[in-house]
Amino acid sequence: MRVYFSLSAACLLAALTVFPHSSRAQESPYIVTYDHYLEEPGSLEVEYFSTFGTQRGGNDFHAFWTELEYGATAWWTTELYLDGQTTFHDSTVFTGLRFENRIRPLRREHFINPVLYFEYEKKNSADKILKEVEGHDVESDFLVSNAEARKEHNNELEFKLILSSTVKGWNFAENMIASKNLSNQPWEFGYALGASRPLALKASARRCSFCRENFIAGVEMYGGLGDRYSFGLNNTSHYVAPVVAWNLPSDWTLRLSLGFGLNDNSHAFLVRWGVSREITGFGSAVNRLFRGHP
């Protein structure tokens, strides 16, 4: 756990001090859904997210994760996640890491833009970040104590087909999820949908924090679709969440999402928030560091 906090603190500190020159981000408000926009080449985005969830029949929890998102090229973004959680009246545990890649196969913009997503997850069963909901994930899965849950380790591969369109300022994104636990478990499926729009489409002539164009609001919906043997909505959980992002001129982005469970298998309430900073020119800075260029 100490390693997790040290790494997270180091990343955020680096974002604040070592790389003071960054650009104002234009980040989407989604926390679960992906749109087709990748990280700009050579840019590193350092992100921290929290999820507070209610738990019927057990203790509420606060799950959190740090993301390091790097634009390797204009068509490839790679990302590392470190996850942890605190279950109230129980304990705080490190729950694992994820390594994801997003690839844009088409050169130009189309009405629907596909992005291919591949992720490897090495996590334990105490994981509660709910970054995606898949298979028969239900609220009662979280009733197991941290001490027990962390003993079970999972290696998973996850694939997503991300489809996204931007029309008249609106973004519409659909993610289809397929994941496979490598310990001989069946394929599981899920979905995430999102729609969002900036509050104003034109930019102001002056820099401002509270201008409407700095706010992007929307809604996302996500849930499980069962597994290979029992595909469908039976015994699955689903959520709907209004979301908002505030892209500050000081290079930071704040996000807030209030999620509501749509059936009895879902957590009744999920509050998520996140803070991120994009560091442009990170790749060049690292390159200069190792090559000794000024």
């Binding site: 650009s23 068509w75 034109k202 930019a203």
Partner: protein, 150 residues
């Protein structure tokens, strides 16, 4: 144990590959040649896109707003004054300044993904036109053998 070794190998390969690829792309494309390839994209804009008029043309704030947006999103690669850097070509070049606003808007929207320029359709249409207004306001600078880079 075996799974961990496979996972570790996979992660090392995948973490190393982006850096290697980025470096390869940089070495494989000397600046002037790469610049020409990016400028060539302007000529690939469809006629319909090229013919589009800038709806912000008469907006007195468009250039100032476009300059702010340019600083935020474009200057890292094209330089604060648009003269270009090692990463991206000058926007004061004849090829860009003589292009129609519609063609510049089309390149901005679609990017030149295989040459390192991302798509900017995530910026709403009016904001992309504001950037076009700013780029057109820069004016052309004649080509010299050692072109200025900022």
């Amino acid at each position: 144990m075996k799974e961990s070794i496979i996972a570790l190998s996979l992660m090392t390969a995948l973490l190393g590959a982006p850096c290697a690829l980025a470096q390869h792309e940089k070495l494989a494309a000397p600046n002037h040649k790469a610049d020409a390839l990016v400028y060539a994209e302007l000529a690939r804009a469809p006629d319909k896109a090229t013919a589009k008029r800038n709806p912000m043309e008469k907006d007195p704030d468009a250039v100032a707003a476009g300059q702010n947006l340019f600083k935020q999103h474009c200057s890292e690669c094209h330089g604060n004054a648009g003269y270009g850097t090692e990463k991206a070509p000058s926007l004061r070049a004849e090829e860009v300044q003589s292009a129609t606003p519609g063609a510049i808007f089309w390149v901005l929207t679609n990017g030149v993904v295989r040459r390192g320029m991302p798509v900017w359709s995530k910026l709403p249409e009016p904001q992309r036109w504001q950037i076009v207004s700013f780029i057109k306001s820069l004016g052309a600078v004649p080509k010299t053998p050692d072109k200025k880079r900022d």
